[in-house]
């Protein structure tokens, strides 16, 4: 049971003697400050007092017009931030005369999307800054290309953590990080002040002074307590918006809050210390906050993941279950695009999904708004029809908790497109209606990426059927498939030769299987409304997503379930009904002769049967049926063939060998069938019936 609520964090400052008598919305945590415009610069004099900066500076609660600068000194001093448009022209200053070691100053009246250089120190000395790397860019008041760095469970203070950081430093190069998120467990083991110093402030000094950090609280930030005390280091070191200082609706607490950046609304929730159940304060606030949102993108984050099979299991742990059951319906009804969490030390990324609030066993294709990879070069970007936070158009859920360690796990949650036990961090780039997301490994490799486009076209429906029987979704490993839809190709074309091509007339088919592998399918035939293909060899049974692309543009997608067997029999007229597409083999004295079961009568323009003569003395007669979805049948007795309702001996069932994807079943026809006339042939493989076909017996 989760304790009902926590003691609220006070961002009381250890050594701050004076408390502001300003309204709550003016950041009670801030030191009283005065703003100055210099006519002459303050001197960056040597440090006469001997105090020096031992933490930061770091940036908090950035808005288009303000930012909070914090730092710690080893001895109490007053506080000043000087700032301006170049390192050598810090024309403005904000000063507090309160003597403290924890310095918290809010710079106000700034211009949106503007770069400011700054220095921190005392009223008489500069202690740090006044150089190129001490600079920040204020949040924009409208959309702008935005880079977001996301770290989850980073705070191990190990080489692993450093490698993840260094990979991002190399990756981003001169591209500034506009803001960064920490998904909890930011400093192991107990979130103590010295642990934060090592794992956060000493690890990311440049990012901390250049970009605003927006953290959420994890179990290791509270030392496991769901009722942490006021003086918890996390609460003391961060200054987060509790009164809508950066947009959104006031939550009244730093445990959960929201903020805006350009065209993105961020919601930070608390899965550790706040109650999560219907009508609990956090969820009431969330509902009101989202009802007031007008931003185009909606990104939510918290620590405990709603879907994971990593070092934690979202089927078994009640916080994860509560977040999934109670938070996701609200977020999805207000059009969330991306949900980020940590806790499991892995990278797990979902399809574009919607409406799954149960255990993993209940996840199915119906929850996939798009079951492809989300990659423009493969199955296509995830497209959401509405340019804004519209309900239930799908979201991507990500566990990104491997920024400090990778801990494995089953990594088999069916909602996930990909699950990796690798170190790394996430990079999000939002530009207008497009979001590019990458999982950047500690090696520098981009191990996953996807794109969400809002206001874009959605993929058309496609019906994937057995190429023999045309039964929808009756598809087996290595089987042949016929897909029906529209805009598949500009014209009809059959594969000219073996091996089968994977691109025919500009059309490609990609199959993402249950193991997360995506492969191009060998194509037999394409036309504007039909594509025939073989499931790519290596595709495993289970849920899969099939995407059809025309001229590299995804045009249709469908989530299906692939079985080991899904028997279908070809028919002479290729309708899946009527006369079997079969042969008769007559063996006498070791010599075989073949004849067809039916052939086209040009005059009638239809297939007519050839009555099968079983009366020849000393002759063995076999019916050779052709189909697909049969070869992985298990033992031969798993294959049953009934002719005229009588079970016949099956002598072979397996790959035909010559034609790709085609299977063959050999059945001995006894003389006792003589005179039966037109009869039905029924094939059952592993208790699964195929389409019924006919033959005619003399």
């Amino acid at each position: 049971m989760k304790v009902f609520f926590s003691i609220h964090p006070v961002v009381k400052r250890l050594l701050v003697a004076v408390v502001l008598s300003v309204p709550i919305c003016a950041q009670t945590s801030l030191l009283p400050a005065e703003q100055t415009r210099y006519t002459t610069l303050p001197s960056a004099a040597p440090n006469a007092t001997g105090s020096s900066v031992i933490r930061g500076p770091y940036l908090q609660t950035g808005t288009p017009h303000s930012v909070i600068v914090r730092w710690r000194t080893d001895a109490p001093t007053d506080s000043r931030v000087s700032y301006g448009d170049s390192p050598n022209r810090l024309s403005f200053a904000t000063t507090s005369h309160t003597i403290t070691t924890e310095h918290i100053l809010k710079l106000s009246n700034l211009s949106p999307n503007t770069k400011y250089y700054y220095a921190v120190g005392t009223s008489s000395q500069t202690l740090a800054g006044g150089e190129e790397s001490y600079a920040f860019v204020t949040a924009p008041s409208a959309a702008k290309p935005t880079r977001i760095w996301v770290l989850g469970d980073a705070g191990t203070y190990t080489d692993d953590q450093r490698r993840v950081r260094d990979a991002y430093v190399k990756f981003t190069g001169t591209r500034a990080t506009d803001l960064w998120l920490m998904l909890g467990d930011n400093a192991y083991v107990d979130g103590k002040d010295d642990e934060y110093q090592r794992a956060v402030f000493d690890l990311y000094p440049t990012f901390l002074r250049q970009s605003v950090l927006w953290p959420t609280i994890g179990n290791h930030d509270t030392a496991g307590s769901i009722n942490p005390p006021e003086d918890l280091p996390y609460y003391q070191m961060f200054t987060l918006p509790r009164n809508a200082e950066a947009g959104g609706l006031a939550s009244g607490t730093e445990d959960y809050y929201s903020f805006d950046y350009g065209n993105i609304h961020f919601v930070c929730l608390d899965s550790m210390t706040s109650e999560v159940k219907p009508n609990s304060p956090m969820l009431k606030w969330l509902t009101s906050d989202l009802a007031a949102n007008t931003k185009q993108w909606l990104i939510a984050y918290w620590h405990h993941p709603p879907y994971t099979k990593g070092s934690h299991d979202s089927d078994a742990e009640y916080v994860e279950i509560a977040m999934r059951e109670h938070v996701l319906p609200i977020l999805e009804s207000y059009g969330v695009d991306l949900v980020l969490s940590g806790h499991s030390h892995s990278y797990e990324r979902s399809f574009l999904i919607n409406g799954h609030y149960g255990f993993s066993s209940t996840f199915s294709g119906q929850h996939k708004k798009n079951g492809g990879s989300g990659r423009p070069t493969e199955s296509g970007a995830y497209t959401k029809p509405t340019l804004g936070p519209s309900a239930h158009e799908g979201a991507v859920y990500i566990v990104a908790g491997s920024s400090g360690q990778a801990s494995g796990g089953a990594l088999n949650h069916p909602a996930m497109f990909i699950s990796l036990s690798n170190l790394g961090s996430m990079v999000l780039d939002v530009d207008g209606n497009r979001m590019e997301a990458k999982f950047l490994r500690e090696t520098g490799l981009v191990a996953d990426h996807f794109t969400i486009i809002k206001g874009g076209p959605t993929l058309a429906q496609v019906s994937n059927t057995s190429a023999a029987s045309y039964v929808p979704h009756h598809i087996a490993v290595d089987g042949l498939v016929a897909a029906f839809g529209t805009n598949f190709s500009t014209s009809a074309k059959a594969a000219p030769a073996l091996p089968l091509p994977t691109n025919l007339n500009g059309t490609t088919v990609r199959v993402k299987d249950a193991a997360g592998q995506e492969r191009a399918a060998p194509l037999l035939f394409v036309s504007p409304s039909q594509v025939n293909y073989q499931l790519p060899p290596g595709t495993v049974a289970g849920s899969a997503t099939i995407t059809i692309n025309n001229a590299n543009v995804p045009v249709a997608s469908e989530s299906i379930s692939i079985a080991m067997t899904a028997p279908g029999l070809f028919t002479a007229d290729a309708t899946g009904k009527g006369w079997a597409a079969a042969s008769i083999q007559r063996v006498k004295n070791g010599v075989s002769k073949y004849e067809s079961v039916a052939s086209l009568n040009a005059a009638l323009n239809q297939f007519v049967p050839h009555p099968i003569d079983l009366s020849v003395e000393g002759e063995d007669v076999f019916l050779l049926l052709y189909g697909t979805g049969i070869r992985h049948r298990g033992a031969l007795p798993e294959v049953k063939v009934l002719v005229a309702g009588i079970e016949m001996p099956v002598t072979f069932a397996g790959s035909q060998g010559q034609y790709i994807g085609v299977d063959q079943i050999n059945v001995r026809l006894p003389r006792s069938l003589t005179g039966r006339g037109e009869v039905n042939v029924t094939l059952v493989v592993q208790n699964k019936p195929a389409n019924q076909v006919k033959i005619k017996l003399k």
Partner: protein, 288 residues
């Protein structure tokens, strides 16, 4: 160790089932390390306390209680062990035991805020409303930036006991301290409505609406209150304004399920108002 012998299997089941769900790799590793340390220094009470807490986090209730008992045996002055026990009992839905150990702890540490809050929750679960309210009030007085949840929990207890005036006073105390939060104001509106202080409820609602760029949901709620007050003309006008506000939203916002539902509700209420006005009925339509 005395405590352990008193437990019935059912209590153990209650203790164990919900807590088994918390396994965590890092914590498990810590547990191993602590056990190794205890083997080296078996009389170190602090190690038992830390391991007991880890056991609690991992859902090992029996092991946690055994470690806490060991702490008490090794260092009887370590009173905080009762606080650790209380957390465990409360999580395990055994509030009577939590109350007992918290009472004992608070006798010696009467100003310990977390303990007071834990006891407030414990008393609330035991139905000891007055004691719970008292503990919340004590804790709130001690916190300089309490979480809104605390004001809400106390107000809920007061409202449950029909102490509406006290509930409102408490919520306003929270609003004065934390700002005009939507969570606090919405509950205050509920209480005002229960007291049929319609104008007071509407004033609070207007205060919330003023904070929000989008007004449609607040307008619908306003209309609902006006209907309860049988001010049908005003309700009708407000509903028309709410529907206009919804209509003026960009398409992507208007299509959100919540907004679609809101519009349906507004239209239904509007229709009901129109009908009752026509029929001259005095009964207010259902407002859900």
């Amino acid at each position: 160790m005395k405590l352990l012998t008193k437990f019935s299997p059912i209590i153990w089941l209650l203790l164990l089932v919900p807590l088994q769900l918390r396994a965590h790799g890092v914590t498990s590793e810590q547990l191993k390390q602590l056990t190794a340390q205890i083997q080296r220094t078996p009389n170190n009470a602090d190690l038992y306390l830390r391991r007991g807490e880890l056991h609690r986090q991992l859902g090992h209730a029996k092991a946690a209680l055994a470690d806490f008992a060991k702490v008490q045996a090794l260092a009887p002055a370590r009173l905080e062990v009762d606080l650790y026990r209380a957390r465990l009992y409360l999580e395990a839905k055994v509030p009577a035991r939590a109350q007992r150990v918290l009472d004992r702890y608070l006798k010696f540490r009467p100003t310990h805020t977390e303990a007071i809050l834990l006891r407030a929750q414990t008393n609330a679960k035991l139905g000891e409303r007055a004691l719970a309210i008292q503990d919340y009030t004590t804790a709130l007085a001690r916190l300089s930036q309490p979480k809104p949840e605390l004001f809400l929990a106390r107000a809920q207890l007061q409202a449950d006991g029909k102490q509406f005036a006290a509930a409102l006073t408490g919520l306003d105390e929270g609003i004065a301290k934390l700002g005009s939060l939507v969570t606090l104001q919405l509950m205050a509106i509920e209480v005002e409505v229960k007291r049929k202080r319609w104008d007071a409820a509407l004033t609070r609602l207007d205060g919330i609406a003023a904070q929000s760029e989008r007004k449609e949901s607040w307008l619908v709620r306003r209309a609902e209150i006006l209907l309860l007050a049988e001010r049908k003309d005003e309700a009708q006008q407000t509903l028309v304004a709410a529907l206009a506000a919804i209509q003026s939203l960009p398409d992507y916002l208007r299509r959100a399920n919540a907004i679609t539902a809101l519009a349906i509700k507004a239209r239904a209420v509007l229709q009901a108002v129109s009908q009752t006005k026509k029929s001259g009925s005095k009964s207010a339509p259902g407002t859900n």
